[in-house]
């Protein structure tokens, strides 16, 4: 048996897939490839694959990572070669590593994501070049920011800066801006990039309009040393 961690794209074509839809699309792609996979025992056998995150509907990702148990002895290149011809557009295999027998669940170790959130400038300042350092300053320099997080189950107050530790950066492209934000994903929760966008717009006066498009640039493992590693980096296994 070979245990692999593959990086797969979640491109524009797959933007509107929920996590479960995406997982099913991956499973079906693997089945089409003819790779002989390990399945769970029981009434309803499931292909043994697991993901780095539950990527929400509406968000594309540079790479989503999947751990898979292949019954045969295979190399990453062989798996890529098998998957590529049966991958739908937007779900291309990118890279991978062979894993040791015992690894921690990716969901448990991936604790940092970098998002690019794109949207239009507020109507009132269209055509102007915004001083983004200044516009983002009060948010970036704040020690704590209270935010009322509303979920279908409950409403609670969280500290946004607990999750968004690094400064948000902006890159203006004509009348659009891309905000790059790093967000921590912890046991106690996280904050969605769209929530940060709206919070900035309504409470920090960011000159942006309310519609946005989200792309996840990276999902990473922040080690105790403070450095961030790719899930493919052997030091995270």
């Amino acid at each position: 048996m070979t245990r692999l961690r593959m990086a797969l794209h979640k491109g524009e074509e797959l933007r509107y897939l929920s996590h479960l839809d995406y997982a099913q699309a991956v499973a079906r792609m693997i089945r089409r490839s003819g790779l002989s996979m390990a399945y769970s025992e029981g009434f309803n056998p499931h292909m043994k694959i697991s993901f780095s995150s539950a990527l929400a509907l509406g968000i594309t990702a540079e790479a989503e990572y999947v751990d898979m148990d292949v019954l045969a002895d295979v190399t990453v290149e062989e798996v890529k070669t098998l998957l590529l011809p049966v991958a739908p557009k937007g779900l291309e295999p990118l890279d991978g590593v062979i894993l040791p027998d015992k690894v921690k669940k990716m969901m448990a170790i991936c604790n940092y994501a970098i998002y690019e959130v794109r949207g239009s400038l507020a109507d009132s300042i269209k055509g102007q070049v915004v001083d983004w350092t200044k516009a983002l300053q009060s948010f970036n320099e704040a020690q704590t920011i209270e935010y009322e997080k509303v979920t279908p189950k409950k409403t609670r107050i969280i500290d946004v800066k607990h999750f968004v530790k690094d400064a948000i950066e902006a890159k203006q492209e004509g009348d659009e801006v891309v905000l790059t934000m790093g967000i921590g994903i912890y046991h106690e929760g996280t904050i969605k990039p769209g929530e940060v966008w709206n919070l900035g717009r309504t409470q920090f006066g960011w000159p942006i309009s309310d519609g946005y498009v989200i792309h996840r640039k990276a999902i990473l493992v922040e080690g105790e040393d403070g450095f961030r590693y790719s899930p493919l980096d052997s030091c995270v296994f």
Partner: protein, 627 residues
């Protein structure tokens, strides 16, 4: 090309319904093909994508290098609102091309209550409803599917209807369209339609005129030109073994209603249940060989990555080589984690043995359709199963570890009395008691699901006046009062949808303005109970001065002209009349598959025969039509 902006699209429900790009979907450059066709299903993505006919025609057209087929389905109400606000016309999933720009727009007519969605889709596409208001700058609007056998209520909206199975018809039609398009459609739309009418199985509503008696009864639908056929005979594919089968179906990203590979075992059903329109329309029975089916199954599984394959037919347990097929499939897929499912079970022990084989671990529940609660009424409808059959099947099932049984019934059948209704409750209790006797446990579950019978054209019940809604509501409550056990759950629909379905199932062209009126008043997604509003429909009828009871509830005379008389499913009228009389006499008619011919006329009229591999293939026996 339509563009969809993520900024708003991500906020509608399930945006993946509208974005295409699925595995096996086919994207072609329209400038490189001669004919483009949008294949439309008037319901939401998850329903539409579950339909086998769409899969067949989509792949069939896309096999051609000179044609492109794309899909278009009804947008859900939230998406429709966005589209209307943003002035986005109805578009295809593959290339996001406005539907109006296609050469052909083909709708499948599966269900009368989807008609309001057809108008809504045309409106969203910016296409005038009435065929007479459209020149060749608009796509030709095509119809196919079971409801074309009485397309009259919506005939005025369509240019062309394909009667019967379309796999051979559609390529012929596209060939003609391509040739005429190359010549620039000499003589315009009318000339083209008259040429198209010469293709067997083609009904062109505009080439016929409907007439009525002085009393306002339907008189006839007659051709306006001498070269147009008086009646249109259905097309069938005689050689189902070798006909095209879609082995690269589109694999949806969303969880659709039937999200699995589909294997069509055979067409037709000769059991002859008198209420069943499909049983009449799809005759004769034509099977595929197990060898061919296994080879199709292997290809579909390899091309899709599905882990389940469903054996589909009108009555799959009637497939003559079922045990052999199931063994072959289980053998083929045993190491590949592919399960086999059998959606329609016959009520007998044999079916349970097959079900045991295919559901080795997961005993999810069994569904049977006794259809009526008493033996008398089951004989009336020619269901041909007895209480003993049902109890024997359930005995086998309970001994084999099943605990849940679902029973389907109909209410409002001809000659039905309260005794027959009470029989439904009796049967449910008997099945539950049986479970306790066999297992010694009290965890058995029986679900009783009762629908409202809708008389359909081309069946022995086409003359029957549907029972009134009040009567049905009374019977529903009566049955409810008889079921007082927490292990029996009883489900029923309001019945109002069944009433509207009955109106359109046997309507004539005078219903077209009513449908338009109902749509104007907001009717759409009528098949979804949360969107069906009987009051709005009744208002539309009132505004148009049309009485819905005239169509649904009025018993018709045998010698009365029927609005669907010119659409010939080849089952002859004397056979239907005799079946009606036998129903009243509670007489059974045997299954003609292996017993003598009953004289429905399908085999001789089409010069064909039943294909049954237990009998060695083509069954040559004396067949005839009653006169």
């Amino acid at each position: 090309m339509v563009t969809l902006d993520t900024r708003w699209l991500q906020h509608v429900q399930k945006p993946a319904r509208y974005t295409g790009g699925e595995w096996n979907s086919v994207v072609k450059d329209h400038s490189q093909v001669d004919v483009t066709m949008a294949i439309a299903f008037p319901d939401v993505y998850e329903v539409a994508m579950s339909h086998l006919g769409i899969k067949i025609l989509y792949s069939l057209v896309n096999e051609r290098v000179d044609a492109a087929a794309e899909r278009v389905f009804a947008p859900w109400v939230d998406m429709e609102e966005e589209m209307r606000n943003r002035k986005i016309p109805l578009f295809s999933l593959e290339t996001k091309t406005p539907v109006k720009e296609f050469d052909l727009l083909g709708f499948t007519l599966q269900y009368e209550l989807s008609y309001s969605n057809i108008l809504n889709m045309l409106d969203l596409a910016g296409i005038p409803f009435y065929a007479k208001d459209r020149d060749m700058s608009y796509p030709l609007i095509l119809a196919g599917g079971p409801c074309v056998y009485n397309i009259e209520p919506i005939a005025d909206f369509f240019d062309v209807a394909s009667i019967g199975e379309s796999e051979e018809w559609l390529p012929e039609f596209i060939d003609l369209y391509k040739a005429e398009k190359a010549k620039g459609f000499p003589g315009g739309k009318l000339a083209f339609l008259r040429k198209a009418a010469q293709i067997p199985g083609t009904y062109i509503p505009a080439l016929y005129k409907d007439t009525y008696t002085e009393d306002g009864d339907f008189k006839a639908v007659e051709p306006l030109y001498p070269d147009v056929p008086k009646t249109i005979q259905k097309r069938i594919v005689e050689d189902v073994e070798h006909v095209f089968y879609p082995t690269k179906p589109v694999v949806p990203y969303l969880d659709i209603v039937h999200d699995r590979a589909v294997l069509e075992l055979f067409r037709g059903c000769t059991r002859g249940c008198r209420f069943c329109q499909a049983g009449m329309l799809y005759r004769p029975v034509r099977e595929r060989t197990p060898k061919r089916l296994v080879s199709i199954a292997k290809e579909v599984i390899a091309n899709t990555g599905y882990n389940e394959i469903s054996l589909m037919s009108l009555s799959s347990a009637d497939y003559s080589k079922l045990p052999e097929l199931v063994d072959l499939l289980m053998d083929e897929f045993k190491d590949k984690q592919v399960s086999v499912s059998l959606p329609s079970l016959r009520i007998d022990s044999f079916s349970i043995d097959i079900a045991k084989k295919v559901q080795q671990v997961r005993k999810s529940g069994l569904t049977f359709a006794p259809e009526a609660g008493s033996q008398r009424l089951r004989d009336v409808i020619n269901k041909g199963v007895t209480e003993e059959n049902l109890l024997a099947a359930c005995t086998n099932a309970f001994k084999s570890g099943w605990h849940t049984v679902k029973l389907y019934f109909m209410m409002g059948l001809p000659t039905e009395t309260d005794e027959d209704i009470a029989g439904i409750a009796d049967l449910a209790y008997k099945v539950l008691d049986l479970h306790r006797d066999i297992t010694g446990k009290r965890n058995g579950k029986v679900t009783v699901s009762v629908s409202f019978f809708v008389p359909k054209s081309h069946t022995p019940y086409q003359w029957y006046g549907q029972q009134g809604l009040e009567e049905i509501h009374r019977k529903q409550q009566y049955l409810k009062s008889l079921i007082n056990n927490r292990n029996i759950s009883y489900h029923y629909h309001d019945g109002a949808t069944g009433y509207m379905e009955a109106v359109f199932a046997r309507g004539d062209r005078r219903l077209a303005p009513v449908l338009v009126k109902a749509w104007e008043k907001g009717c759409k997604f009528d098949g979804w109970s949360e969107y069906f509003h009987l009051d709005t429909w009744l208002e539309a009828f009132k505004d148009c001065g049309v009485d819905p009871d005239y169509y649904a509830r009025r018993p018709r005379d045998f010698d009365e002209a029927l609005p669907w008389d010119h659409i010939d499913d080849v089952v002859c009228k004397p056979y239907l009349v005799r079946e009606w009389q036998r129903a009243l006499n509670e007489e059974l008619t045997n299954d003609c598959r292996r017993l003598p011919c009953n004289g429905c006329d399908v085999c001789p009229a089409l010069d064909t025969a039943i294909i049954d591999y237990k009998e060695g293939g083509r069954v040559d026996k004396i067949t005839y039509g009653l006169t």
